[in-house]
């Protein structure tokens, strides 16, 4: 390949055509781009690997991907997957996603299903030195492994609770506010069993109202009890509505249609920007933790991009990506490498901002009694979850 760049005139026509064929094959299979790029080392100039990354739109770092190309010779081609597990899984199994994408990012929990269906390659931890730097509770998320193999790398974690209007309901430190009869018609939850079933289960478990093992992965009986509780609350007129998506969530709070609802922390900041005094509860029952996991699609292996994918995963945990994601989205890559990187590169990232973000996320996991219940997009009984959700809809 060096010859092709440096001495094209010194080879025969047959050799040249042969090399063109090899180069074309490489382009097709390995995504090797034979283009010169400024700022790259000589070796990288010759082999920039393209990697297709299919993830939630919030996982892209836009112009900052250039750093990955400079440091690792990997050019990321990012596509938003909508972050809805059903369509993503569907496109992987029945669609052409495996032909198009090498790595993916998805809310945690679908690893087992995708592994069973042969859609994922396991990650080789030995090729991802930075994996060891992940915060322990991120490495211990149960659903990232299946049969002992690592299928999901938590590249973002956070924890959700209750958004509330303190001027209406006072200070809130419990999920009970959402189910409080005094706030009938003034509360809401998200229109998705993925979130609302676990929130309700956490509330019932931690207040000893129902015996529940893991709120994120309910048994058939536990699920029945949780959903019966929700159905009763719905029939009682407890909820003003259930919300769907960012804009609806923000509008419910800013219009003060709802005084307390389970939801995402950024909604609080959006409401404050709109002049509404809103707060985010630190619930005594603990938070609902969630992770967005990096997945290695089998298509990457078939195209010979597994090594590049591992280098990509390692880079995502190396600090630069975490700083960029924190700056752009306020999301936290669960490793101290972010702060370490910012300290070492003060000209690139303000260290204090990254430290504040890390401290804020850590505080969610440490400030209470340590209860973290991980949201799981595919609990064992997920078909039953959907069936119960339908009963709730009809109630």
């Amino acid at each position: 390949m060096d010859n092709l760049y440096d001495h094209p005139s010194n080879i025969s026509r047959r050799q040249f055509l042969k090399l063109l064929g090899v180069g074309g094959l490489s382009l097709g299979l390995g995504g090797i781009e034979l283009l010169r790029r400024p700022g790259l080392s000589a070796a990288q100039q010759k082999q920039t690997v393209q990697l297709t990354f299919w993830a939630s739109g919030t996982m892209t770092i836009e112009q900052y991907w250039q750093k990955l190309e400079q440091q690792e010779g990997i050019k990321v081609n990012f596509t938003d997957n909508g972050n809805d597990p059903g369509p993503v899984i569907s496109k992987l199994i029945f669609g052409n996603a495996q032909q198009l994408y090498d790595v993916g990012g998805l809310q945690g929990g679908a690893e087992k299903e995708l592994a069973v269906r042969g859609q994922l390659e396991p990650w080789d931890e030995s090729k991802i030195p930075n994996y060891k730097t992940l915060w322990p509770w991120a490495r211990d998320i149960p659903y990232i492994r299946y049969q002992g193999k690592l299928y999901g790398i938590p590249t973002v974690i956070n924890a959700d609770s209750v958004i509330y209007l303190p001027e209406k309901v006072g200070k809130v430190d419990t999920y009970a506010v959402v189910f409080d009869p005094k706030l009938k018609g003034k509360t809401a939850m998200e229109d998705a069993w993925i979130n609302s079933a676990i929130f309700t289960a956490i509330y019932l478990k931690e207040n000893n109202l129902q015996k529940i093992g893991n709120p994120g992965n309910l048994t058939k009986d536990e699920l029945g009890a949780v959903m019966e509780f929700l159905i009763k609350k719905k029939k009682d007129g407890q909820f003003r509505t259930f919300w769907n998506g960012w804009e609806q969530g923000v509008q419910l709070v800013t219009s003060q249609e709802v005084w307390a609802m389970t939801g995402w922390e950024p909604i609080v900041y959006a409401a404050r920007r709109a002049g509404v005094k809103a707060d985010y509860a630190v619930p005594k029952e603990g938070y609902e933790g969630w992770s967005n996991d990096l997945l290695l699609f089998k298509g990457a292996g078939q195209r010979g991009r597994k090594d590049a994918a591992h280098r990509f995963a390692n880079w995502e945990l190396g600090g630069y990506y975490g700083n960029a994601l924190g700056k752009l989205r306020g999301y936290m890559v669960p490793t101290d490498n972010n702060v370490t990187y910012a300290k070492a590169h003060p000209q690139e990232w303000p260290m204090q901002e990254q430290k504040d973000l890390a401290d804020h996320v850590k505080s969610k996991f440490f400030s209470m009694k340590g209860a973290i219940y991980w949201q799981n997009v595919r609990p064992d009984n997920f078909q039953l979850y959907e069936e119960w959700w339908q009963k709730l809809r009809n109630a």
Partner: protein, 310 residues
């Protein structure tokens, strides 16, 4: 007498030229000419629907996360046991109500635009009904939250006028709001087909009715309405089918976790339970076919299409 006159001049029922393939001479060369159309219909419409029905009898296997061939009624049983049938019935009810309300509102509007408004006013009204469609339907639906909410325009105005002391809660996040959203979304689809069918009525027909001594009401009832039946049917079909498949209005304006058929199918597809999704779709399909059969039986719809095809 007026009715007899309308029967005599009704361009829809007049003539009686049959348009069926056989009657239209579609044997021999005619059949060959029609063959590509039949093939396209079978490949693009009939075959996918037949597969949909076929797969609805398969079974979801939780061990493999996949569906497997079977001749099972599990999916259909689930529809009944999990209350999904109630959603189908409720959606149909809402779609019928929307269609009826749209017809009641659209007909006088169309009549006014055709008979009473001048050309400029007619153009202005047409634009007024069309302009909202230049924006996203999501934005249009979302706007109703700002109008019907506790602090919305309606409640604020009613409170300012002293009509109410406290905001009316049921204006939003209730079936009322869903109905308003659906009507606002689909009303033009009723207005314009009716308006178009009115423009096809020849002035001489109306003059004949008047000459025969019919009052305005009698002319409307015995001449205009029968002659605009194709528009009424087309508009009703548009509105009904669109309301039946709607989801945004319920998600944005409905109460807690309210459902419609489209939302239910989306929920099921999210967990990849395809047999169940196909079974729900099969039932909806059966419902639509049933309505078309009833429509044909009592409204003579095939006659209408024949008149259009001539």
């Amino acid at each position: 007498m007026v009715a007899e006159a309308s029967q005599r001049v009704n361009p829809i029922r007049r003539g009686g030229v049959a348009a069926s393939p056989a009657a239209a001479g579609l044997g021999g060369p005619g059949l060959y000419l029609a063959l590509p159309t039949y093939v396209i219909v079978v490949v693009l419409a009939v075959a996918p629907l037949a597969l949909l029905v076929f797969w609805s009898f398969w079974r979801y296997d939780p061990a493999t996360y996949w569906i497997k061939p079977d001749l099972s009624f599990d999916a259909y049983q689930t529809i009944v046991s999990s209350g999904r049938l109630a959603v189908i019935i409720k959606t149909a009810r809402i779609a019928v109500t929307t269609t009826a309300l749209a017809l009641v509102l659209a007909y006088p509007i169309a009549y006014f635009m055709h008979r009473l408004a001048g050309a400029r006013l007619r153009m202005l009204l047409s634009l007024l009904f069309l302009v909202p469609f230049f924006t996203s339907y999501i934005v249009r639906t979302f706007a109703w939250r700002l109008i019907l909410g506790r602090l919305g325009l309606v409640n604020t105005a009613l409170q300012a006028l002293g009509v109410i002391q406290r905001p009316v809660e049921w204006l939003l996040f209730d079936e009322f709001a869903v109905q308003v959203g659906l009507l606002a979304s689909y009303l033009p689809f009723m207005i314009f087909p009716i308006l178009l069918s009115m423009t096809r009525i020849e002035g001489s027909v109306l003059e004949a009715s008047e000459d025969l001594g019919a009052s305005a009401w009698q002319t409307l009832r015995h001449v205009v309405i029968p002659l605009t039946t194709p528009g009424i049917f087309a508009g009703s079909l548009f509105v009904f089918v669109m309301a039946l498949g709607s989801s945004v209005e319920v998600q944005f304006l409905g109460g807690a976790a309210e459902s419609m058929i489209a939302i239910m199918i989306t929920d099921v597809m999210r967990v990849l339970n395809f047999p169940l999704a196909f079974a729900i779709s099969t039932l909806v399909l059966a419902l639509l076919i049933l309505l078309l059969v009833i429509g044909n039986r009592y409204l003579g719809l095939s006659e209408l299409f024949r008149s259009v095809s001539r």
